[in-house]
Amino acid sequence: MERVIEVESLTKKFGAFTAVDSISFHVKKGEIFGFLGANGAGKTTAMKMLIGISHPTSGKATVAGFDVFTEAESIKKNIGYMSQKFALYDDLTVKENITFYGGIYGLSRAKIKIKTQQLIEELGLEDIANNMVGSLPLGWKQKLAFSVALLHNPKIVFLDEPTGGVDPITRRQFWEMIYKTANQGTTIFVTTHYMDEAEYCDRVSIMVNGNIEALDTPKNLKKQFSAHSMNDVFLKLARG
């Protein structure tokens, strides 16, 4: 299986504080890779290094085949990113948001038009395509943000706690979207602190204090820690 992310001894230090301490892992193509950890465990810092907005202190890493130290610009063209704040403009309409994000990824006007149409149909947003995003319910914003991150057909999409603040049904629907995307060959790199969501991932890594303490399929992890759920696994790890 092709590896789309490869990380070896990746480290990030802020002064004397080591946020990410020599982590190594890889992610396979089309995989849903869950990146777990408590707040402050270093998962956001690690992800920021992979998406090219934070420079690693040392180590090696490639994303979509490009080096994070020297080829950050090429990486950016091949990844999508959805922030936990959804990062849509409330004062732009649904269509305008799509157009803007398509634009910053260099999509042609014709392509943006087609994509917009497609997206609006897929998400069932026909009636409100010209409404301001600020007036949409959170769940729709979430779906829109995810779709927007996929506009330029990235090889890998990074989701930073994408389900924060939405209800269980909406979360469920969102995970269906993730599955669909992964089935089409896009790799999903997702951080979350909902442990039930960790069960949906192909493989899960758990970070504690800057280190990856566990990495395997949810099934194997549960066996390894003789736990009933991922929640138990996480608690056992976090308590040390």
Partner: protein, 368 residues
């Protein structure tokens, strides 16, 4: 380039759809300039003046009668010697002293001309100027009467003197100050708020993950505000030309060049603020306290720098607005060319380069 245009378009949507920012952008300049324009009015009424008549003859009596008859002035003291002038001013009631030279009428008849001194208290330069103009008008109408049916024209030569603030003899013009404040507000404050808003929303992060380069992002944020600032500057100049009939003496091209330079200075400051501030509110507070207050208080816009305490005079040098106001006044009021303001321009340019360099450095650190 296409990426860039899309970015700018989006930026205009933000601005045009937010009523609050629209008001700051377009309502504020107009309201401010009209307010200041009409508040700093040239009307004077019943201003107290004192008379120092060394001659006490027919003509001086005539002039004094005319002055006292006008609704603009009321004579509150007749003083007897030069030394009294200062004490009369110090009491604060009297705004002007009119001093006729010795043998006024004799000089007028013998030499065809006589001299009258108009001494005004220039702590309020606007009023001072108006007073001396009005007094002069009354004297000249008297001269006209004297000259009726006579070939040989008599002349009364008024000598105007401003006390307490001699170099502010020229009328205190508010237009350069307002223009500076507005440009600072639009360019620095609005830019810093709009950048920090993207930080707050999380959209900045998403944009930085995109292939768009940081420099393009900043440029995309800044270009709309350059355009709006230029429009604002034009509106202010047009208003002052047509509503307040203020002539612009110097070259418009030079004026445009200096204005754009200042806009860039302000934008650089705005970007700098946005690299420091994490929220829109902080950005606004820093802009207001750190930029607007100094511009209003220390730039010479409202309070003359020359009458500030030495410490503040020194501090005023690091305020870009001070130099821009000097440049604006020089071009608009004195009509000077570039050779007279190259020093100020260079200082402004230096500050701009410094702010840009600093914000690029800060911006990079943030990306670490």
């Amino acid at each position: 380039m296409k990426l860039f245009l899309g970015f700018i378009k989006k930026e205009f949507y933000h601005i045009l759809r937010d009523r609050r920012s629209l008001f700051i952008l377009f309502g504020m300049p107009i309201v401010q300039i009209l307010l200041f324009g009409f508040a700093i009015t040239n009307e004077i009424n019943n201003v107290n003046i004192a008379i120092l008549d060394h001659s006490k003859d027919v003509t001086t009596k005539k002039i004094i009668d005319n002055i006292s008859a006008s609704k603009y002035f009321s004579i509150n003291a007749f003083i007897q010697q030069e030394n009294d002038i200062e004490s009369v001013f110090k009491k604060g009631q009297t705004k002007a002293v009119i001093s006729f030279e010795k043998d006024f009428n004799q000089h007028l008849i013998k030499n065809g001309q006589a001299t009258v001194q108009i001494i005004t208290d220039a702590t309020d330069p606007n009023t001072a100027n108006t007073i001396s103009n009005y007094v002069n008008a009354i004297i000249q109408s008297q001269v006209k009467e004297l000259n009726k049916g006579i070939d040989k024209g008599y002349q009364i030569i008024p000598q105007t003197r401003m006390v307490y603030n001699p170099e502010l003899k020229s009328v205190f013009m508010f237009v350069p100050g307002i223009m500076t404040v507005i440009l600072m507000l639009v360019s620095a404050m609005m830019t810093s708020i709009s950048i920090t808003r993207e930080k707050e929303l999380g959209t900045m992060e998403v944009i930085l993950v995109s292939p768009l380069k940081p420099l393009q992002v900043i440029a995309g944020k800044v270009v709309p505000y350059i355009a709006l600032s230029v429009i604002n500057a034009t509106v202010i100049i047009l208003l002052s030309l047509f509503v307040f009939k203020m002539p612009i003496q110097g070259s418009l091209i030079l004026l445009a060049f200096e204005t754009v330079l200042f806009i860039v200075t302000a934008l650089a400051l705005g970007i700098l603020i946005s690299t420091i501030a994490a929220t829109q509110q902080t950005a606004m507070m820093i802009s207001l306290m750190g930029l607007m207050l100094p511009v209003i208080i220390l730039s010479g816009f409202i309070f003359p720098i020359s009458s500030m305490p030495l410490v503040l005079q020194i501090i005023s040098n690091i305020i870009p607005a001070k130099w821009f106001i000097i440049i604006l006044k020089a071009i608009m009021l004195k009509g000077v060319g570039f050779s007279f303001i190259w020093k100020e321009t260079l200082i402004l340019l230096g500050m701009t380069v410094f702010f840009i360099a600093l914000s690029i450095k800060k911006y990079k650190i943030r990306l670490e």
